[in-house]
Each structure stands twice: as C-alpha cells, then as structure tokens.
Amino acid sequence: MTGKTVAIIFVICATARGETPPPTPTELEIHTLSAIDSVPTKDELATYVQGPDFVARLEALALDSTVDFGIQLRAIRALPSFCAAQCKDTPPHIAVLAVIASVPSTDHSGRALLRLRAGIEALGIVKSGKLEDVNLLVPFLDNASRDIRAATARALRDMCNTTAIVPLRARYQHEMSAQVRLAISAALRDLDQCN
C-alpha cells in the first residue's frame, strides 16, 4: 500500500461518512511520518508538513482517529522537534499534554497504550521543568502495563526534575518487573546529577 493510496483512503472514508473533512495527510506528510528506520528531522518536518503552524498540524494528525495509527504515533513523537530552547507552556508542550489527556484511563487496548507511551516519551523530551508535568506522569508508574511504567521512568529521567526521585524510589520498592526496576534505577542515577 503506497502513501498515495493511504491518503486517498482517508478522503474517501471521511466523505462517505459525511463528516467534517479530517486532517487528511498529504502524500508528503505520509512519507515524512512513515519512515521505517529513522525519525524525521525538524528540517524535514518543516519542509513537508503543511505549515505555517506545524505544531497545530502535527497535533491535528496526532489526535484524529481517522488518520493512520502509525502516522498518529510519529506525529506525537515529532511534536517536541518544534520546541525552542525553552519549551515550557509553548504550543508543542501543550499539544503533548493534550495527547496524553486524550487517552481514556479506561482504555487498555494495545493502541491506547502505544499512544500513551508516545505521549509520555514526548513529554520527557519536552523537558518543561514544570512540577505539574512530573505530577502528571507519576501516576503512570503504577500503570498495569510494564511498558508504560518503564517509559514513565525514562521520561521522568529525561525531565531532570528531582521531585521525581521520591515517587520513583517508592515505586522501586514494590516493582516486580526487572525491566521497570532497571529503568527506575537508571532514572534515579541520572536524576542525582540534575541538581
């Protein structure tokens, strides 16, 4: 299935449903957000994603369920590319928070977990420094999915906010998964360097 075919299918489905046209990704956007073994650079995103508001466009692609799921995931992960030196409360930061909020806490499907993991990973990269972000992530240390717990530990490490140390230690005490314990250990080790 080519990128052009994917784009056409989006349009046909939306039209058939009589909905407001979704943010149908262009062929170039599909190519940009479907690479197998690389992530798009900021230059590539700025060249091939419809502008001028790249963040709004990526957010629209990320949040529209009619868009191919692989495209959604990569759009989420691409949002931090548009962070300036300080990303706190900027549109990419707000968009990432919106992605995390869009995942119902009751949805434990594989795709929901993958979307949540993408949002958590992106929030770690945003590195806003805000306590609210740490507080948003900490509950995910108790998520049923060990992939989510491990991703959360990594994101808290990436945020480099030492307020995460206490909840990470607390989780470590009763964490059963070796994968997550190792992720928490690595996070605690790196957070010690963040002061």
């Binding site: 080519t2 190519h31 940009t32 197998i36 230059d43 060249t47 795709r111 990973e121 190792l182």
Partner: protein
C-alpha cells in the same frame, strides 16, 4: 607430512599385492602403462591418480592427467608455484621485483618451521612456506591443481610496504568469507586492503574501545586509482554540504560512534577490482576533529557467489505484551515462533517471497530466547549496540525482536551496511519492534524486516525524503533502481517489495550469504 602421504599410498599398494600388467592399486610398475588407466605409477607402485598436488606429497606437482611429478627446483631457482620446488623447499616471493607477466618474482627457498597453508598468520615468517596473505598462510600456485582441496588459485595483491599491491598467484579458499585483522598503530593510519581476483565483495569493520569517539574511513581509492569515498565534511556552510558529500560517494560510508562498516561495492557501476584498495582508517571526536582512539580493523573478503540467507531470531521477553492479540494473546518466544502459523506462514513465508525476488533463498532459521537482559526488552536505539553485541552468529543475520523500540514510531533499526561475516559486535544484527504489531500485520512487519535486512546486506534507500539544494531527492548509487514506492528499499513503511537487477547484484554479493 606430504612425504608421509605418498609413502602411505605406496604402502597400501604393497600390502594389496603386485600382479603383473594393467595393475591395480599396490601392483608394482615400471611405467604408466603397467597400471590400470585410473591409476598412476609412482615410485614403482600403482597408486590412485591425483586431483591436487598436495595428494602427491611435498615437492610434487599433479598434472592434467592426474600424474604426480617430482619437482626439480633447487634452492635459489626461480619458481611460480609451490609445486616447482623440490621437497623441503617452498616457493617464496623475492621482494618487489615483477616479471614480464606482471606478477611478483619468486624463488625456491628452504621451508621454515611455521604453520601449514590455510593457518592464520600475521607475517610471512608465521608460515611454513613463507607467504602470509589475507591473514592466512598461502601457497604460490600456477593453477588450482597446485592447491589443497577447497582452495583455488587466484590473483592476490601483496600488501607489504615493498610490493605495494603487486600481484602474485596464490591458493585461497574457493568459497565463503576470509576474515582477518589488519594491524593499526595510530588514530589515523594508512591501510592496504588486498582484494583477490575471485572476490565478490570486501568490507572493513572499524571499531574503537572508546564509544564516545567516531571511527571509520577517511578516504578510499581503488587499485585503479579512482577515489571511491572521501569522508563528508562536518559542518554545513558555504563550502561544505555534508549531505552532498555523503550521497555523491561511489562507496557510501559514514564514520560512527564506536563502530562502522565500509563495504565494496555499493553499486554495479563501480565494480570490485582485483588489487590493493588504499584507505585511511581514523578515529574522530564527536565534533569531527581527529580522535585519539586507535581503530581496530577487521577485513572480510567474500569469495564466490552465494544465495542462501540464514536467519537467527532472538526473542526478548515479550510476555504480557500490549500487542499480544497479534500473536494469539499468548506468549511469543522462541518455542512459539517455531510452531505458530502467523510467524511461520505470514512472517517467514512473506520474507521468503520477498527475498526470492532478490534471487535469495532463506536457509536455516534458528530461534533463541534472550532471558537475562531485561534492560533491553524495551529498547532505546541509543542502547542498540548492547543488544546487537549478543548476536553471535557470523553467518547470516541476527534478528532481535524487542517489546518496544524508542523513539516511538521507529519500527526497525540496524547498521547500513552491517558487519557481514562477523558476530558479536555492536552492529551484529538488526532490531525489530514488536509494538508495530498493534497497528500492522505480520506480513507488513515482514516487509519492514526485509527492508532492514537488505540494508544490512549493503543496499541503501532507493530514494530519500531529503533533497539536495535543487529540491531533487537523494537516492542510491544504483543506476537501475528507480525512486518508486514499490521498491523494497523505499524508506517508508508504505512501500513495495520490488528490486532492480542492480540491487539484486549488490545484495547477492553480501558476505552474510552462504
């Protein structure tokens, strides 16, 4: 040893008895006509005809008719093959002098106490017959009959500083990979890579102990003098376009942190040449300035064509996976993968179909669980080296299935090209993220896997998303591979499985095949 070979043949013959005329094995004889046509008369006894000179013993040749002949070359006599020199002597290259035929001159010289042909060596004196080439003791030869079983006579460049790439004829394995280490004594060091006439591909694996430094080639020049590769400039400015430099090289290569691979050829339009390739191996700081680490360089030369690809599947802990519905809501591990239809038919079956397009057949497939590395179950690509180093198989490709791959959205990861023929390095395999199965099928994952395997084997993306200053997309160096989405090497997951003839040619030269 070789004396004993002929003596044994004669002893067997004597025990078997000696009837007259048309004699069988062991019969006495005065001439060839006394023996059956399938035998030869050697030292007064009918013995089996020879196929290779080593069957006759040291100091003998084997002619077209399968008859052993005692060599007459004495110490100091000119020779072109090991079989020219009398027992106890070996045919050795004299120095840098080249004869009318264009090949290095040699003469009969007393054997030393070194290792027999085929043994590994670092210098000539390591070898009984005095010639070390491609890291192995090598006999000089005129034709393949002069060589032991499994070896062929081929042109070999001599890469010592005196001979400087001049050719001689020597015996090397007729098929498979020849692997050896090339000594390097400084952070930037000139290397001569010998490529024999029967080679189909050659590669160099550069590694440094300091993983914070980059390592690779600075330049590469063919035996004919063509510059095939120059290290791309570092920082884009009015005089430097790193992407243009990278994509315009005939051999595509980039020094990387810890380890990198350079593979020749990258395109049918710059075929592999017989002779010594000249290159500079070097380490670099992350900012591109000269490094301090001394590169370890391993060479792999592929002899003959091969079409069989072995795969070694490794399964990290995939228990309780969010995408488990794609594998029957059960545990996917080495055991399950060998029996489940989705893996055997949908995944491996489609891999077979894809590689059949490339003229390659899947060979043996083995399955291993990786149970003691929970830190790598969910892999961040920056840690990929730790995982790939677990890939011990040198033949074929190691394929690791991990729970998740970060950054999210990345479906596969691996070196381009990979260190074909070498296991246990930080690039010895590819990684496939099983989280892709939350939104793609097994057949789609098979295409992703085939794409990454082909990169490991030396193909590059047929076209890249990035463009040059004229807005033309960068592409591979293979003339007949178009920029179609239908190509296996199209960078997007929404691509096809087509391969051009040129792509097939490069892929089937890979040292991963057998």
């Amino acid at each position: 040893m070789r004396y004993r070979t002929l003596s044994s043949l004669i002893l067997i013959a004597l025990v078997a008895g000696c009837p007259g005329g048309g004699g069988g094995v062991g019969d006495t004889c005065k001439s060839q006509s006394d023996c059956d046509s399938s035998l030869q008369c050697a030292a007064g006894t009918c013995v089996p005809k020879c196929a290779r000179a080593p069957e006759c013993g040291d100091g003998y040749s084997c002619d077209d008719d399968g008859i052993c002949h005692l060599a007459v070359g004495q110490s100091g006599d000119a020779c072109t093959s090991e079989v020219d020199c009398a027992p106890g002597l070996s045919c050795r290259i004299d120095g840098a002098a080249v004869g009318d035929s264009g090949f290095l001159l040699a003469s009969c010289t007393a054997q030393n106490t070194g290792r027999p042909p085929g043994s590994t060596c670092d210098i000539d004196m390591d070898c009984r017959n005095g010639t070390c080439a491609l890291g192995h003791c090598t006999d000089l030869c005129d034709n393949t009959r002069d060589c032991g079983n499994g070896n062929s006579c081929m042109e070999i460049p001599r890469v010592d500083p005196i001979a400087n790439g001049a050719l001689f004829n020597g015996c090397l394995p007729s098929q498979g990979n020849i692997t050896w280490s090339i000594p390097v004594s400084g952070p930037s060091w000139p290397i001569l890579l010998p490529v024999p006439s029967a080679a189909h591909s050659a590669s160099l694996v550069f590694a440094v102990d300091d993983l914070a430094q980059q390592v690779g080639a600075q330049s590469l020049v063919s035996p004919g003098g063509q510059t095939l590769y120059t290290r791309p400039c570092e920082v884009a400015d009015s005089t430097c376009d790193p992407a243009r430099d990278f994509y315009s090289n005939l051999v595509r290569h980039q020094p990387e942190l810890g380890q990198s691979v350079l593979s020749i050829p990258s395109t049918p339009s710059a075929q592999l040449e017989t002779g010594a390739y000249r290159l500079m191996a070097a380490s670099y700081r992350p900012n591109g300035t000269p490094g301090s680490a001394i590169p370890h360089v391993t060479a792999v030369v592929r002899i003959d064509a091969a079409v069989i690809l072995d795969l070694h599947f490794y399964f990290l802990d995939l228990d309780d996976h969010p995408c488990a519905s794609a594998f029957g809501d059960a545990r996917l591990d080495a055991s399950a993968a060998q029996t489940k239809t989705f893996f055997q038919n949908d995944f491996i079956g489609y891999l077979r179909t894809i590689f059949a397009h490339g003229g390659i057949a899947l060979g043996s497939i083995d399955y291993t669980d990786v149970v003691d590395h929970p830190d790598l179950d969910g892999l961040d690509v920056v840690d990929a080296g730790s995982l790939l180093a677990l890939g011990k198989s040198a033949v074929g490709v190691n394929v690791f299935f991990v729970r998740t791959l970060s950054p999210v959205g990345l479906q596969a990861f691996g070196p381009n090209p990979g260190p074909a023929g070498i296991g246990g390095t930080r690039q010895s395999g590819i990684v496939i993220g099983i989280d892709t199965l939350c939104y793609r099928s097994w057949t789609q994952l098979a295409r992703v896997t085939a794409h990454e395997l082909a990169r490991y084997m030396g193909l590059h993306h047929n076209v890249e998303l990035a463009t040059d200053s004229n807005n033309v997309h960068w592409r591979d160096q293979i003339a007949d591979s178009d920029d179609s989405e239908n190509n296996l090497m199209f960078f997007s997951e929404f691509g096809g499985i087509d391969l051009s003839n040129g792509q097939r040619e490069i892929m089937t030269r890979s040292g991963v095949l057998r």
